[in-house]
Subunit: 177 residues, 2 copies
Amino acid sequence: MDSELISARENFIKGLSRIAHFWGLPKAVGAIYGAIYLSPSPLSLDELVDQVSISKGAVSTNVRSLERLGMIHKHFKVGDRKDYYDAETDFWKIAKGILREREKNEFDVALRTVGDSLDMVEKADLKSSDLAGFYKERIKGMKKFFDSLDNLVATFIALDELREGTIKKLFKKSSNK
Amino acid sequence: MDSELISARENFIKGLSRIAHFWGLPKAVGAIYGAIYLSPSPLSLDELVDQVSISKGAVSTNVRSLERLGMIHKHFKVGDRKDYYDAETDFWKIAKGILREREKNEFDVALRTVGDSLDMVEKADLKSSDLAGFYKERIKGMKKFFDSLDNLVATFIALDELREGTIKKLFKKSSNK
DNA sequence: TACTTTATTTAGTTTGTTCTAAACGTTTAG
DNA sequence: CTAAACGTTTAGAACAAACTAAATAAAGTA
């Protein structure tokens, strides 16, 4: 293989590692995705171990993360027990998936915690000390922001789904008639 | 202080710690911001040390981070050598600031790395192996996504600035005439 | 049934991050 | 000039995250 290509590939993978790290993911996740993304054909675990030179165990767990994020897909070949992975290349789709995922997990917990705190303060409010009122306003302010953010994300996802749906419907129509 | 209030406060601060951790920041950052956010008056370093019970050194550095993120503001009182901190409560403003910051740092590096890789591949392309063409398409696809994201963020910031500017102008007008 | 081939889990190590405690530097007050 | 009051920096401890190597599990093949 052409050495220009090799160093381009290296550079690219190094960049993805960095991005992964920036977003709080293990660097290996970036490297693995990069390797799969730049492979014309699906890769097996062992091929990945070769290409990114990290242990099989680590590849196994990180590949699982990538799959959970919807960034790669598992494939099987008949008469072959290996798993093969190829890259999801639609990044908006990936983003949508990740947003929806986060929605369900930590983000939601955060929202709920703030909501709970607000409830607690509201109970204490009966005795209406100054401080209770202050807490209430502040926490309400934060809750409002989180709610808006939540809405924003939900809207983004809904819009995207709508768009997809529309395209599919149009396609169906024109191919049915 | 009312025990309801105390536990509400604790719950809130615990929640913020968790959120901070989720976003890749030290948990102490969340706790400190929570303490400041729920304080009716600006807090000094030592008061923070008391309230969140972490060492002075840690408070010092984490407070600096918070300031850099635009989440708290430093204040001085005449005839008092202490620094006092109070909370920025406009979360959209905070978000905007952080986006702009990230823009300048890691995000930009990411974009540039992908761009560089593309350049490298394009040099190799002369010999036009199949693989080079494939790399080129893939990397181009990612670059396109990053460019769009970049635009999206820039637009968000610009819109918000425009909105602010408009309000200020209107205000100026009506108060001048 | 025993042997391969594959992926996953686990125990322990390595690495990186964040904290504490103490030293330091600076400024103000006495 | 010394002492006190601050905030910052630093060295090292404590902790958390991610990796490796080896054991384990699963599932085919001889």
